[in-house]
Symmetry: C2
Subunit: 405 residues, 2 copies
C-alpha cells in the first residue's frame, strides 16, 4: 500500500516526539508500505512566529506572513527526515514547493489548485520515505502561501489524492471520532467507521478532530482517511464512502456548537422582500448566517425574525442589522449570546424516519425549550438555551443509544 | 545609486534591532537610492537549529541540514520586510530561490554559480525595497543549499554584482577595518579605504571583519564594499580597487594569527624528493600547510624541516607526519602549539623596499626571535613565539607609523 501519514503539532512537539514519529513511520515502511509523511510545525512554533510578526508591524503584510509561517513546517520536515535516516532508512524532506503544491494567490488562506508530486513519486519509487512540510504551497508566481489554520490536514489529504494513496492517516492527540464529546459524556464511544457526509456535518457542527476543508476534499476525491492517535496503537476511526452498514445506524453522533450568537429583530413589517433585504445586507459583509426563524405574524402586519451568526462576527452583524431595521421601520433589535446548537447526525436518517420527533420529545421531557430547528438529509439541529447544552448532549446521546454499555 | 546593504546576526538579533535596520534602510531609500537588503539569521538562531539537528540524529544529513538552516534567514527576511512596510515603504522579502541564486550541489558549503535576480530587478524598478534571505541558494535540481559560515557576506556581494549595484554595504558590530586589533593596540586607526588585495590578506591572516570568499568575489567582479557599523553613523571602510593613493602607504595593517601549530621533523635524510614526499602526503588529506622552513644541513646528510598547519588539523597532521618520517628514516617528529604568525600588509610594498628589513629589525630590537618568514608581493609574515604576539603587534604598529597620533 501507499500510505500518507499526517502528524499534528502535539505529535511533533519536541525532539523525543519527533523520534517517536520516525519510529512509527519506519515501522509502517517495514510492514511493506510506501510512506509519505506530512508534518505540522512543532506545537507553539506558529504562534511564536505570529507574535514576532505582530511585535514587528501593526498589520504585517500577508505575503510576508506566509513566508514567515511556512518556516515552522520546514523545520519539522527537515528534523523528521533526519530522525528517520538516523534509524537507518532513506528519507527526503520536501517543502510545499518541492512537493509541487500549487495554490491560488489568496495569502494566509490559499486554496490548492493542483499538486504535481513528481519529486515525491520518484523518491518513493527509489525507496525513500518522503517527509513533506504541511500547511504550505506556492503560487504560479513563485510566492509562498499557507492554507490557513489546520491546513496540514488538507495538505495530507490532497497529497494522498495526488499520489493515489490507498490511505491517509491523520495522527492527532485523540483516539478517533467519538459519538459525542467524551468530556461531557464519559460513556461516549469511538466510532470504527463514519461516512464523509457525517464527518463533514460533525466537523462543521463543532467536532474538532478534522478540519472541514480537508473532509470536503477527501469526500470529493474519495480519499479514505483514518483519524488516530500518535500516542498509542489503537485503530482509530475510518472516514470513508457511505456503505450499506452505515445506513443501519440511524444516528452516528451528537454534536454541539457554542460559538454562535442570536440576533432578533422585533416587529418588522410583514411584507414580501423583507427577509431578502436583511440577509442580503449581512451576506454582503461576508458574515455567514446559520439558523433563521421567522414567527408567524398574528395580525398579518408585523413579525419577529431571529437568526444566528458566528460569535466572532456578532457585533458587526448586530450593527448592520440595527441599520437595516431602522430603514425597514422595525421596532428593535436584540443580541443574545446564551444560546447553543445541538445536532444529531447520521446517514441512516435518509431511510429511517422519526429522528426529529425523537429528538424533540427527548428535549421536551427534560424541559429544554427549542428556539429554532434546522434539518438536512442527514442532520437535525436545535437551537437551545446555552445552560442546557451538556444536559441535552447527555440525554440525546442516551436516547439514540450511542453509549458503550 | 543602487545600494546593497547586508546586516549580520547581531544587527538583527531582536525585534527592536530589526526595526532600527528598517529605519536605516528607509532612510537610504529616501535619500534617493534603490536599496536591496540582505539579512542573516537572528543571532543565535542558526546555532539553535544546529543543536536541534544534533539532538535528532547522530550525523544529520547535509541536504536536510541545509533545508533546516535556511529557515533562520527566511524568518529575518520576512520580519525585516514587515518592519519596512510598517514605516510606510513598499517592501518584498525574497528567499535565496526567489532571488535566483543558483549554486552547485555541495550542501552546507555550496558555491554560487549564477544569480538571475529577475524578481528583484522588477521589484526595485517598481519602487520596492527588496529584502533577501542571505546564506542560501538553490541547486539546478531545486534543492535548498547554504553557503557555509559567513555566507551572508558572500550573498550580499554576489547580489550586488548581479544587480550591478554601485555599492555593497556590510553592516556589522564594528566600525570598519582597523590598522590592527584595537583590543591589543588602543591607538589602532580605522582605515578609510583599503584595496581588495590587502583586505584578502588581512581576512586570511585572521582579521574577522569580512569572510575571505566574499572578498575574493568582490575583487573578481570589482564590487566596491563598505564595512561599517549598524549601531552608529560612522562612515566605515571602503574596500575597493587599488588606486594611486593607496600605493603611497607602505604598510596598511598589522595582523596576527594564533590558530596554527608547528610540526618539526628532525634529521631527515637530505636528498631530492623528500619535501615532496612529506607535503604530498599531508595535502592528500586536505590539510593546508602554511609556512615551511628547511634548515640548511650542516653536513649535507640530514636536515630539519618545520611547517605550520591550522590548529584544527594539527593532531591529524602530526600522525601523518610521524608515519611519513618513519618511512623516510627521520629521527623524530615534534608538535608545538605555542607559536603565532605576525604579518604586515600593504600594496605600497610593491613600490617601496625595506619593509621586511624594518620588520626584522623592530622584532630583533625587542628580542623577539623569528622562526620562519614568508612573503608575498604585498605581505611579510613572521612566525614567532606565541607569548610575544601582543608585544610584536604593538611595536610593529608603531614602527610602521599606523597609529592615530
Amino acid at each position: 500500500m501507499l500510505i500518507v501519514q499526517k502528524y499534528g503539532g502535539t505529535s511533533v512537539a519536541n525532539i523525543d516526539r519527533i523520534k517517536a514519529v520516525a519510529k512509527r513511520v519506519v515501522k509502517t515502511s517495514k510492514e511493506g508500505h510506501k510512506v509519505a509523511v506530512v508534518v505540522s510545525a512543532m506545537a507553539g512554533e506558529t504562534d511564536k512566529l505570529i507574535n514576532l510578526a505582530h511585535q514587528t508591524a501593526s498589520s504585517p503584510g500577508e505575503r510576508e506572513m506566509d513566508l514567515l509561517l511556512s518556516s515552522g513546517e520546514r523545520i519539522t520536515s527537515a528534523l523528521t527526515a533526519m530522525a528517520i535516516e538516523d534509524l537507518g532508512h532513506k528519507a527526503i524532506a520536501l517543502t510545499g514547493r518541492q512537493m509541487g503544491i500549487v495554490t491560488d494567490t489568496v495569502h494566509t488562506k490559499a486554496k490548492i489548485e493542483r499538486i504535481t508530486a513528481e519529486k515525491a513519486k520518484k523518491a518513493l519509487d527509489e525507496g525513500y520515505i518522503v517527509v513533506v512540510a504541511g500547511f504550505q504551497g506556492i503560487t504560479e508566481n513563485d510566492d509562498v502561501t499557507t492554507l490557513g489554520r489546520g491546513g496540514s490536514d488538507l495538505s495530507a489529504v490532497a497529497i494522498a489524492s495526488a499520489l493515489k494513496a490507498d490511505l491517509c492517516e491523520i495522527y492527532t492527540d485523540v483516539d478517533g471520532v467519538y459519538t459525542t464529546d467524551p468530556n461531557i459524556v464519559p460513556d461516549a464511544k469511538k466510532l470504527d467507521k463514519i461516512s464523509f457526509e457525517e464527518m463533514l456535518e460533525l466537523a462543521s457542527l463543532g467536532a474538532k478532530v478534522l478540519q472541514t476543508r480537508s473532509v470536503e476534499f477527501a469526500m470529493k476525491y474519495e480519499v479514505p482517511v483514518v483519524v488516530r492517535s500518535s500516542f498509542n496503537d489503537n485503530s482509530g476511526t475510518l472516514v470513508t464512502k457511505e456503505d450499506k452498514d452505515m445506513e443501519k445506524v440511524v444516528v452516528s453522533g451528537v454534536a454541539y456548537d457554542k460559538n454562535q450568537d442570536k440576533i432578533t429583530i422585533m416587529s418588522v413589517p410583514d411584507k414580501p422582500g423583507i427577509a431578502a433585504r436583511i440577509f442580503k445586507g449581512i451576506a454582503e459583509n461576508t458574515i455567514v448566517v446559520d439558523m433563521i426563524v421567522q414567527n408567524i405574524s398574528s395580525d398579518g402586519k408585523a413579525t419577529d425574525i431571529s437568526f444566528t451568526v458566528p460569535k466572532t462576527d456578532s457585533k458587526k452583524a448586530f450593527k448592520l442589522t440595527e441599520e437595516i431595521a431602522k430603514e425597514l421601520g422595525a421596532k428593535s433589535v436584540s443580541l443574545s449570546d446564551d444560546i447553543a446548537k445541538i445536532s444529531a447526525v447520521g446517514v441512516g436518517m435518509r431511510t429511517h424516519s422519526g429522528v426529529a420527533a425523537e429528538m424533540f420529545e427527548t428535549l421536551a421531557k427534560h424541559s429544554v425549550n427549542i428556539m429554532a430547528i434546522s434539518t438536512s438529509e442527514i442532520k437535525v439541529s436545535c437551537l437551545i438555551d446555552l445552560k442546557y447544552t451538556e444536559l441535552a448532549v447527555r440525554v440525546l446521546h442516551e436516547a439514540f443509544g450511542l453509549g458503550k454499555k
